[in-house]
Symmetry: C2
C-alpha cells in the first residue's frame, strides 16, 4: 500500500467566530472564513482525512510521504520530526499532527475499526466539560461574574457535570480579583457537586498565580491551568510545590512529549497535558504512556476527533473531554457546516460517545465542501 | 464482538532443553515436555493464540474476559492488573502477558494486519544478536573462553553482526576473571566490528561488577547486563555513574513499566529493558514510549512474536532482537516442533524479517498439536 498524494482541500464557510488582539475567540459578526482539510490518497483507494494543514507543508511533507506505506506511521512520524529541524514553520507540530491524524484515519479504514479500538479501547463514553470562551464586554455574553454563573447553570442544565472558565484577557483583563470573583460566582451558582476549572491569563506573576490558586482551593476547584508563562518551568515548579490544587500543564510549551517528561521529572505540574495539535495522535499516545508510567494524570487539551479517540483508549490517566469553546451567544453546534454530524454531541449525563465508523469518524458533508471549494 | 472462551491448549513435545540448579537452560538428554498455548475464542469466529499461560489463571482471567469485547485491550489489561493485586500468582505478569498477546492476535486478524502495522510500523527487518546459553562443562559446549570464541565465530559466519555471552553460573561460576577471559577471547576472535554484550552472574558485588565493566570498556563491548541483584536500584545507580559502558536494565525487576520510570528518573541504567513477559505487548509499548520521552534507549529482552512486533513498531529506542538462547550443541531451529515455521529466521545480514500474516503470525502446526494434545 502506497501513498500517492497529499493535498489540501480548502473551502469557505460563514463564521461568527472573531479573534481578539491576543488571538482568543469570541462571538462576532458573520463573515466568510476558510477551512482546510488534509487529504492523503493511496493506491488502494483508501483516503485519510483530517482538519488542518497548510500549503507550505506540502513540498517537504510530500518528500516524506509519497510512495511510503501509510501504515508505517511511526517511521513517517519520525521522518517528519527530523525534517522539522530544518523546515520548522512548514512542518510545524500542528501540520505534522494533521498528517498523522489522516494516517490514523487510513489505518482505521483499512482495519475496518474506529481508531480507539485500533489503539486498544478502554471506554465508549467520556465525560465532557463545558469550556467557555474568554471573558468579554458583550451584553448577554461573558461580561461579568454573574454572566459566567448564568452560563454555567445553563450548561449544567444541558447535562454537563464539569465547567471550565476562561476569564478576561487584555484589554479587558487580566485582573486576579476579577477572575476569582467569576470563579466564586460560578461555584455559588452550581453548588459543590460540579467539577470546576480555571484557565486564566497566561502571564500572571508568581504572586498573582498563588493568590488565584489559594482562592480556588477555598472554592473547591478541580484544577488550575496555565496562569503563568510556561516558558519558565521553574515558575511552575515553584507554584506546584506551593499549591494543593492540581496545577495542569504544560499546554502551549513546545517540545512535544519530550518536554512533558521534563515537567514530570521536575515536578512542574500535578497533571500533564497533551493535544493532537502537538504532532498528532502518535505522540499523544506516547504522552499518555509516559504519564501512566509515572503515575501522573494527563488531561487532553481541546476537542475534536483525534483527542476523542485518544480518550477512548486511555485509562489512567485522563478524565475529561474538553468541549468548546462555548459562549452564550455562539452556536457551537452549527459552527462547522462542512460536517454532516459533529463527533462530540453530549448526552443528558454530560458525556460524549466515541464514534464507531472506521477511522476517525470524520463525517464530512461532501456536497457542502464541493459547493464551497476554493 | 465478544469473548466466548479462554482455554489452554496443552501438548507434549520432545525437548533437549535442560535446566540447571538456578533454572538456566542447557542442552540435555531428550525428554518429553509440555507446552501451553492460550486460546481466546470470540463469537465472530476469530481466535487469538499466544504461547504461555497456566491453568491457575483461568478462573480469575475468565471473570475479566468472558463477554468482553477483545478489542478493548486497554480496559481488559487494566482490569487484569487490578485483579493481580489480590490474585498474584494466578495472574502473574507472564500470564497476563500471554492473554494480552492473544488479544493483539485477535485485533490483527480482525484488522487483517500484522500487529506491528496495527501499532504503526517503523521497519520490516530488525538486526538480531546471537544470545548464548550460560556457560557449562560440556565438551564441545561452552566450557571455556575458547569455546565461546569458536561459537561466536560460527554465529558471525551465519550472518549475525552481534553476539551476547551468558557466562558461568553456580556451581561452575561465578568468577569475574573467567567471565572477562571469555569476553576477551570472543573479542579477539571476531575483531572490532561485531557488537558484543555480556549478561553475567546476577549477584556480583559492586566491586566485581565494576571490575567486569572496566574490562568490557577496554574490550569495546556494547553493553553490560544485570551483573548485580536488580532489587537494589541503588547498586545500579552507583554502577551506572561509575562506568562508561552502557548498563542495561532492569530485566527481571518487577513493577512493569512503572518501575522502568523509576530507574530512568534515578539514572539507574543507561538503557532500559522490557519484554512481553512483563504483562504483554500493551505495557511493552508503554515502556517504549516512556523511554522515548526521556531520550533513553530500550532494548527488548528475549525473542518471540510479541517482542518482534514491538521492535517492528519502535524507532528510537531499540536496537536488537535477541535470538536464542543458542548453544553449539542445541538445535534451536527445531526446538519448537509445534510451529510450522519459526518467526525469527535470520538472513545473511543477521536480520529478522517481520511476519506479514494478520495478527502475531504464529504459524501453528495444528496436526502436530492435535496429535500431541494432553
Amino acid at each position: 500500500m502506497k501513498i500517492t498524494d497529499l493535498e489540501l482541500i480548502r473551502f469557505t464557510y460563514l463564521s461568527r467566530h472573531a479573534r481578539d488582539a491576543e488571538g482568543h475567540g469570541h462571538p462576532g459578526p458573520e463573515h466568510e472564513d476558510t477551512a482546510t482539510l488534509v487529504h492523503i490518497a493511496t493506491d488502494e483507494g483508501v483516503s485519510g482525512y483530517a482538519m488542518g494543514g497548510s500549503p507550505t507543508m506540502l513540498a517537504p511533507a510530500r518528500q516524506v510521504l509519497l510512495g511510503e506505506d501509510p501504515l508505517y506511521r511511526e517511521r513517517i512520524w519520525q521522518r517528519l520530526r527530523q525534517f522539522q529541524r530544518l523546515y520548522g514553520p512548514p512542518l510545524h507540530d500542528r501540520y505534522i499532527g494533521a498528517i498523522d491524524l489522516a494516517l490514523w484515519d487510513i489505518a482505521g479504514k483499512v482495519a475496518g475499526l474506529p481508531v480507539y479500538k485500533l489503539i486498544g479501547a478502554y471506554r465508549d463514553r467520556v465525560p465532557a466539560y463545558a469550556s467557555t470562551m474568554c471573558g468579554d464586554d458583550i451584553p448577554g455574553g461573558l461580561d461579568c461574574p454573574a454572566a459566567y454563573a448564568d452560563f454555567a447553570e445553563a450548561c449544567v442544565a444541558q447535562g454537563y457535570r464539569a465547567f471550565k472558565l476562561h476569564t478576561w484577557m487584555a484589554p479587558l483583563g487580566p485582573d486576579p480579583r476579577h477572575d476569582v470573583a467569576a470563579c466564586a460566582a460560578v461555584r455559588e451558582r452550581v453548588g459543590p457537586d460540579i467539577d470546576l476549572m480555571l484557565d486564566c491569563h497566561h502571564d500572571y506573576s508568581r504572586t498573582e498565580a498563588l493568590y488565584i490558586g489559594r482562592a480556588l482551593e477555598e472554592l473547591g476547584y478541580h484544577w488550575l491551568e496555565e496562569p503563568m508563562n510556561e516558558h519558565s518551568m521553574s515558575a511552575y515548579v515553584w507554584l506546584t510545590a506551593e499549591l494543593d490544587i492540581p496545577v495542569v500543564g504544560p499546554e502551549t510549551a513546545g517540545g512535544l512529549f519530550y518536554n512533558r517528561a521534563e515537567w514530570i521529572v521536575n515536578h512542574a505540574s500535578d497533571i500533564s497535558r497533551y493535544d493532537v495539535n502537538l504532532g498528532g495522535l502518535t505522540p499523544l499516545i506516547k504522552c499518555v504512556h509516559l504519564c501512566e508510567a509515572h503515575g501522573i494524570s494527563m488531561e487532553v487539551h481541546g476537542g475534536g476527533h483525534g483527542n476523542l479517540h485518544a480518550l477512548g483508549a486511555m485509562s489512567i490517566p485522563g478524565e475529561y473531554y474538553e468541549r468548546g469553546l462555548l459562549h452564550p451567544l455562539y452556536d457551537f453546534e452549527a459552527a462547522q457546516p462542512w460536517l454532516a454530524s459533529r463527533v462530540d454531541d453530549i448526552d443528558a449525563e454530560g458525556c460524549v460517545t466515541l464514534p464507531q465508523a472506521p477511522g476517525l469518524g470524520l463525517d464530512l458533508d461532501w456536497d457542502y465542501i464541493a459547493a464551497h471549494r476554493v
